[in-house]
């Protein structure tokens, strides 16, 4: 590295620049062509000039001050062309990909400069951009739980820096995978940078690029990733010493149905610092201080939980109430110092069961648990013909309709279960019929089949079901699926191939399965009412993450609703065909208020929380593992080349201004 850089302009331009000072010098010493002016007498002027020309080199200097200033300006310009700078290292490579972490943990202000980690990362990227030479190209990607290509490859450094400035702090979690995919797709043709696309359009030849990751390292693991032509460098951003931080990593209300009217709120406080600490915690209900805990002990690198009893509110909850927990002791990361949840008034699901022999289902619906969850209405198949059915299913009165061996004329606007029958929308079909088939596979991972044992269940005969695209098989027999779930424009249709009671041609009933006698049956029914009955949506509290889409239904099917964000901005959302609403602008954590349009009454509240232990842990990873490569962090900050030429050019402007002033104001020769 040298102080001067002679390569900024080619040699012939240096030559031209070198000629300028002697030229100015010559011009000044050439006889100046003066305009003649007749005067009464030169007598006094001669005397004046004689006085001024008496002596001294200073007089000469003063006489040629303008020339000296012009020479100075040219010399300074030449100096600025030398691009003086210091403390720089050559930036190897000519293509760079800057990846900046903008996740929630980057808002921590643990640096000695009191800047947030994101600000520090941005400053470092800008310094590196300054070190790029004219032909270097770079692209800019920011990531949280998703990646945004802020700027594709460009050599325009000021544009890059502007785009760096535009990167904003988010309250999202960290997932670098998408950013790596985008970067890799551009560096390695043959891979796509668009995850949705199966076809990669090779628009440019793959070239080596240097991937510079500016993050605190708190990112999700990237299990399968190879860098190809990318060379990754990781710059850990954050304090060397682990900063003390206490954050809320879990916050929820208990299940009121489970606990018999007792309402409790739980919070888990995590200390990501090394030393044990004490914090004060306050609980706000409906924005008023409700309860507080002083000096809650949290061990170093450990966590503790606090709970507050809200039973006093039981029975008085008539509308949704926002609840907020707040850690009153300030720390470097304020994002996790508060969390939100919503206490909703209890609401029963409306479920319609249509069958002619409701015995088993009535039994299953009579459990304590189900009676707390839902109001189940039993009707015979004749009800399907009545206008009341038409009205209630069209308006979305029911959350779930179970058709037991029957089917309606049109599909209702709600979730459905078809037991021993097929939906009438023509998307479903029977691929055959099986007799005395053992159940071979149950999809217990699905909420509907959670904790439902079916291996001991016997089924005498069942239809084999073929569902539309997107169907999920929940129960498989040897020959095929006997229970399938498929979406239908926002609703879910569950089709079960085997009825509980089979009727032969003469109308005699026979038991088709012993499932209702098994323990799994009431659990399945409970899951059914929970998952398809919409109860999960109206449960006491459920929280979304910032940036996540809010997909919800209102209590009544309003054509449009207004969503007020925590920052007070209201946005109108139109209802979709299935009377659901989708709201995407959930960047801030807090309580989102949902009102029918033009109505001040709150329909419901939705809490958005990060509650991410990884984000709350402010430890800066010294290395990150991306795919098969472990990348060591470069802690030592490579200072950017400190450029002096802009200052010199400013000085030139000042010199020229002085010269102009002297020339015009005739202050001095």
């Amino acid at each position: 590295m040298s102080f001067f850089d002679f390569s900024t302009i080619p040699w012939y331009q240096w030559l031209i620049l070198g000629i300028v000072p002697p030229l100015i010098f010559l011009l000044y010493f050439l006889k100046l062509r003066r305009s003649p002016l007749q005067v009464p007498s030169t007598f006094l002027w001669t005397r004046t000039i004689e006085d001024m020309h008496v002596n001294s080199i200073w007089q000469r200097l003063r006489n040629n001050l303008l020339m000296l200033l012009q020479l100075l300006a040219v010399l300074l310009l030449a100096l600025s062309c030398l691009r003086p700078g210091c403390r720089s290292e050559e930036l190897a490579g000519d293509r760079f990909i800057f990846v900046i972490d903008q996740s929630a943990s980057m808002s921590a202000k643990d640096l000695s400069s009191k800047k947030s980690r994101l600000e520090e990362a941005k400053a470092r990227v800008k310094e590196t951009i300054d070190r790029m030479t004219g032909s270097d190209a770079a692209m800019l990607i920011s990531f949280s739980d998703r990646a945004i290509v802020q700027q594709s490859y460009t050599t325009n450094r000021s544009l890059l820096k502007r785009k760096v400035d535009l990167i904003q702090q988010t309250e999202r979690s960290s997932d670098i995978t998408e950013a790596l995919t985008a970067a890799s797709g551009l560096a390695n043709p043959g891979r796509t940078s668009d995850r949705e696309s199966q076809i990669d359009m090779q628009v440019a030849e793959g070239r080596d690029a240097i991937l510079k990751i500016y993050s605190d390292g708190g990112v999700k693991e990237v299990p399968r990733f190879s860098f190809g032509k990318l060379t990754a460098e990781y710059f850990p951003i954050g304090a060397l010493e682990l900063p003390a931080n206490v954050g809320v990593t879990a916050f929820s209300l208990n299940d009121q149905l489970e606990s018999d009217g007792q309402i409790e709120v739980f919070a888990r406080l995590q200390n990501s610092g090394l030393e044990a600490t004490k914090v004060d915690v306050s609980l706000y209900v409906d924005n008023e201080l409700f309860d507080a805990r002083a000096d809650v002990d949290i061990p170093g690198l450990g966590s503790t939980s606090v709970s507050f009893d809200l039973s006093g509110l039981a029975g008085r909850v008539e509308q949704s109430i926002p609840i907020r927990i707040q850690i009153d002791s300030p720390d470097v990361y304020s994002q996790d110092d508060q969390a939100f949840c919503v206490l909703n008034p209890p609401r029963l699901s409306n479920i319609l069961v249509v069958n002619d022999d409701p015995k088993y289902l009535q039994l299953a619906a009579k459990t304590d648990r189900v009676s707390k969850l839902a109001k189940v209405q039993f009707e015979t198949t004749d009800f399907l013909e009545q206008p009341e059915y038409e009205k209630q299913t069209t308006l979305g009165f029911f959350d779930l309709v179970i058709f037991d061996q029957c089917a309606p004329q049109t599909m209702p606007a709600c979730n459905t279960v078809f037991w021993g029958a097929l939906p009438v929308d023509g998307r479903w079909s029977k691929s055959g019929r099986t007799d005395v088939t053992p159940i071979v596979d149950v999809n217990n991972a699905h909420a509907l089949m959670h904790a439902v044992q079916m291996t001991t269940v016997h089924v005498l005969s069942s239809d084999l079901i073929e569902g539309p695209n997107g169907s999920v098989s929940l129960v498989d027999s040897v020959e095929g699926s006997v229970m399938m779930l498929a979406p239908r424009s926002g609703f879910l249709d569950l089709v079960i191939g085997f009825p509980l009671i089979d009727y032969n041609a003469s109308g005699d009933a026979s038991v088709n399965t012993d499932w209702p006698r098994k323990l799994g049956f009431p659990i399945f029914m409970q899951n059914l009412f929970n998952a398809l009955g919409g109860q999960s949506q109206f449960a006491q509290s459920f929280s979304r993450k910032p940036g996540q889409l809010l997909n919800f239904r209102a209590r009544l099917p309003y054509p449009e609703i207004s969503v007020t964000s925590p920052d007070g901005q209201a946005e109108t959302v139109q209802a979709r065909a299935d009377n659901a609403y989708v709201f995407g602008n959930t960047e801030d954590s807090g309580i989102y208020e949902i009102r029918p349009s033009g109505n001040q009454e709150i329909d419901q509240l939705i809490a958005v929380n990060l509650l991410d232990r990884r984000e709350s842990n402010l430890a800066v990873a010294e290395k990150i593992e991306l795919g098969y490569v472990e990348i060591e962090g470069t802690r030592s900050r490579v200072p950017a080349r400190r450029e002096f030429w802009p200052w010199i050019v400013m000085l030139v402007i000042v010199v020229l201004m002085i010269e102009w002033l002297i020339y015009n104001r005739r202050v001095l020769i």
Partner: protein, 302 residues
């Protein structure tokens, strides 16, 4: 160089009526009492025939018996002669510098000098003084008439209008020429810009040697007092084509003003040491104001 600001043949150009009214009430004053040539309106050192009594003296044979004081003879039995003061005219010379440098300024310095000479001459003519206005150009200028009496005003104006800036003769030579031709005593007003590279000292010394009552009126144009120049200039002297190159700057202008102030101070000092009354005036100052205020203060008129 011809005087571009030459006045028309009108008395108004040199002596506006408003000025005439004021001048009528003034008279020229001499600090010294000189002998005039003709009977005039001012007292002389000589005893003469005015009505104003001066002294007595003893009768000597041959004296005019009309002046014997018979009353004294009756009382003292001695013959005394009554002496009366003689009233004489005043020799008033005005020398106008007609070098080319006098043609500069707005109005030109020459025009200003003519106005001043006309005003002073008018005062003199009104008081029956002997007026002689002479350009300092021994070669080309028309012979200067000697004027006396109010009736000669037109002649004086006519003569002044003939004068133009033409001469480049050194001031000293012109003055010496004047002195050699004019031997009378009296009051002399020299109207000049003193811009003579050979100096003004010799010229003034000649005049002092003539024992005249001398007034120097130093006329400068506004362009000389506060030059409005910019840029790089080659200043050409209108009299001898000498040139000086300057790059105008604030500092140079300041220095010029300093030089001018020194020059004026030196001239004033030179004059006061030799009993010459020095007055510096700008062409922007009106002749009316100069005569009625400044020259009255300096005792030339009253």
């Amino acid at each position: 160089m011809p005087d571009t600001n030459a006045p028309s043949n009108s008395i108004d150009n040199l002596l506006p009526p408003s000025l005439l009214a004021k001048l009528d009430r003034m008279e020229l004053v001499s600090r010294k009492i000189f002998r005039g040539r003709m009977k005039g309106e001012r007292r002389s050192t000589r005893k003469g025939q005015s009505v104003e009594f001066a002294d007595f003296r003893n009768y000597v044979p041959g004296d005019d018996l009309r002046f014997v004081d018979w009353n004294m003879y009756a009382r003292l039995d001695k013959l005394f002669l009554k002496l009366f003061l003689e009233e004489e005219d005043l020799h008033f010379y005005t020398l106008i510098d007609v070098s080319e440098s006098m043609s500069f300024g707005t109005p030109s310095k020459l025009h200003y000098a003519k106005q001043l000479a006309a005003a002073l001459g008018y005062i003199g003519l009104c008081r029956s003084d002997r007026i002689k206005i002479e350009p300092l150009d021994p070669v080309t200028a028309p012979a200067a008439p000697v004027l006396r009496g109010r009736g000669q005003v037109w002649r004086m104006i006519e003569y002044l209008n003939q004068l133009g800036a033409s001469s480049n003769v050194p001031l000293a030579d012109s003055v010496r020429n004047f002195c050699s031709r004019n031997t009378g005593k009296g009051v002399l007003v020299l109207i000049t810009d003193l811009m003579d590279k050979s100096g003004y000292a010799d010229a003034l010394k000649y005049l002092v040697a003539r024992n005249l009552d001398i007034y120097v009126i130093h006329v400068l144009s506004q362009e000389e007092i506060d030059p409005d120049l910019t840029g790089d200039l080659k200043l050409v002297d209108c009299e001898d084509d000498d040139f000086t190159e300057i790059s105008v700057s604030q500092r140079l202008l300041d220095r010029y003003r300093g030089t001018l102030a020194t020059f004026i101070e030196q001239a004033r000092d030179f004059c006061s040491r030799r009993g010459i009354v020095y007055t510096m005036t700008s062409t922007e100052r009106s002749v009316d104001r100069l005569v009625s205020r400044y020259l009255r203060q300096r005792g030339l008129v009253r």
